[in-house]
Symmetry: C2
Subunit: 392 residues, 2 copies
């Protein structure tokens, strides 16, 4: 069995989620049918939707639609703003974070290709969005501000209340992907006052390929992205047919929120143990402030160690970590964590992350620490590259 | 257990598909990882994609991307044509069938709201698209023709080779949803010469919420609809994360194609037995020619019997049928089968369909025939409505 330290990217389905899904799995369910089994499924479906509302503290008058991913939710929000506000000349710009997700980066590029202005707001030295700079670019012609609640690479929690206050002042809608936040920190659309919020099931023990898009009652009009038979989705998205998946998603959200009350502290302790161990090595840098990171994350530069090689060797030894370093300097003009932390640029290719989840045991983490340290040393001994020299 | 006669809408997952999925289900798989289990998943994923290519006789140089539904595939094709050809003024119209799916109807309406011309080509008396009329509307400014391979309500097979020849003559791309055809009749993009084709897993014993979009090599440029991390999807759609689902989908397609060689004849016989039984009733009309229908389908008008009531009572007795009659005269300007067949318009609300699948047994079908006949009589006796009088 592998030691999974890429829980921010993907997690196995939780056992409690499997149990909740089991009565509905693999069946030919049709929510419009009045047959007994289908009526049972409809009841469970409605309870699941209610559960999703409660999870993020949404109001009954707000809308929540189910999508196949947070990327789909982002695409729907960006494209709606484009088609209804930018294309019609009512608005002319969008603002994203210079630390945006791949979906946001690609959507922003599409908008640019259509003549829309895109402003990319960098992070300050602590890894949080520069809100003062954001305010300078915000105006009545801004169609959308999009900032993830948690930085997907570093796990740094963004000042979303400040950002939403700045947006509200100009009447600009705010889209916030909370996929990295759900189950790690409290998430509340009531408190954060976002206009749109997405959250994906992939990283919380839910089945894959399901997510939700929250739409505040007074949000600008959203149009469908996936057109089709949409009676269960308020006219905004073709129906999701896999009822078991919807039920599993809601159960996973509930469990993730419940975990915030106690389990999450154990997770943070385990994470801290691993980080302390790894920082005992030379030429290793933690890239995000402890107090600002979600409790599952470690993000580090391993001087002289190419991230892709470290990932590969760790995977072969049964430890799954993650890295965005391979993206950064190719097609994706994303502000790098190394630049943010003001470190030597030679470290850019050495950034690797570890994201713990509730299923990780103390034994696993001790074993992982050993393997990571050993692998870093091994690579440093065998590959005394230019990269290595540069970063010394 | 219910008797499922709505296999065109949804089917349970086949046992062979479950078996194929099992080794990959519920796990945290990451196709980019070099870990052993992930590499095994990557191999199975690639085999699944190959299998999908072979299923529809696509060439290596063509593209196939995975989507969450055929509705998503249709949305991607329509929106790409809109954004790249209609919005730029290079094209100015689209042509759909007057028997289009809900997704196509809604997409067409969206295009109309943006100033695009939409032509809706009716079906002739046998239920097939009027190709001569199509030819009159086709011209060099047509952005897209969209015709499903099989009529979703009646099961009538459309003359797609003729349609594609007419489109090719004008250099117009043809989008064809083959979801109702796969596993019922041979489907080949080589023979049918379509530009785009979609096929959904919902009706072939696959897991739900997965479909594929075929894109011929020389097709007009398609853009992403769901933007995101798309390295496994040729840059055209955010990745599908549920690897088990992809493997199950490919297996279901393979099984559906294999069934064409022998099982499908038994299915046709069973279907014919049921139809013969039902036609023994008075005031019952078969609405599509036997020779043109896929072997799973029966579509009938039951004079004096409101479709929604029949569906409801059948479901309560454990028989799941389907009906589009409740849609037709409300929001959806779809040409009705009753008009096509030149029958009394009072029959419009009485149209119910039955779609058999390979899991249906002879005993089930005999039982279903009994229940349907009994329920039709019951409704006729108890509800001598205006509708009933009208249709006599």
């Amino acid at each position: 069995m592998s030691i999974l330290l890429n829980g921010n990217i993907i997690t196995p389905i939780n056992n409690s989620v499997k149990e909740a899904m089991e009565p509905f799995e693999g069946k030919a369910l049709n929510l419009k049918s009045l047959g007994k089994e289908n009526q049972k499924a409809l009841k469970a479906y409605k309870e699941a939707i209610d559960k999703i509302y409660r999870t993020i503290e949404a109001k009954d008058e707000d809308s929540i639609i189910l999508t196949s991913s947070a990327s789909e939710a982002a695409s729907q929000v960006f494209m709606s703003m484009y088609l209804q506000y930018i294309l019609t000349g009512r608005k002319n710009s969008v603002i994203i974070s210079a630390r945006a997700s791949i979906a946001e980066i690609k959507l922003a590029r599409f908008l640019e290709s259509q003549g829309c202005r895109v402003y990319r707001i960098p992070a300050t030295i602590d890894g949080t969005l520069d809100v003062e700079l954001l305010k300078e670019y915000l105006n009545s012609k801004t169609a959308l501000v999009s900032v993830p609640l948690v930085d997907e690479e570093s796990g740094v929690i963004q000042p979303i209340e400040e950002i939403s206050a700045a947006c509200a002042l100009q009447g600009v809608p705010l889209f916030c992907d909370a996929s990295g936040a759900i189950g790690k920190i409290p998430v509340s659309v009531a408190r954060d006052e976002v206009t749109f919020m997405s959250f994906d099931g992939s990283a919380i023990g839910a089945p894959k390929d399901i997510a939700a898009l929250y739409i505040r009652k007074d949000a600008p009009e959203i149009m469908p992205l996936v057109f089709g038979c949409d009676s269960e989705q308020g006219g905004l998205r073709a129906e999701i047919k896999d009822i078991a998946k919807v039920i599993g998603f809601a159960k996973a959200l509930e469990s993730a929120i419940d975990a915030l009350d106690f389990d999450i502290d154990d997770l943070r302790d385990l994470r801290d143990d691993l980080e302390t161990e790894l920082l005992k090595m030379d030429n290793v840098y933690s890239l995000a402030p402890w107090a600002l990171r979600t409790p599952d994350r470690i993000i580090m530069a391993f001087g002289g160690v190419h991230a892709s090689m470290l990932l590969e060797r760790l995977a072969q030894k049964g430890v799954e970590a993650y890295s965005f370093a391979t993206f950064d300097n190719r097609n994706f003009e994303r502000q790098s964590l190394i630049d943010i932390a003001n470190l030597d640029s030679g470290l850019k290719h050495t950034v690797v992350g570890f994201s713990l989840s509730l299923s990780n045991t103390k034994e696993e983490i001790e074993e992982a620490a050993k393997i990571i340290k050993e692998t870093v040393s091994e690579i440093r001994e065998n590959f005394s590259s230019d990269l290595c020299k540069e970063s010394k």
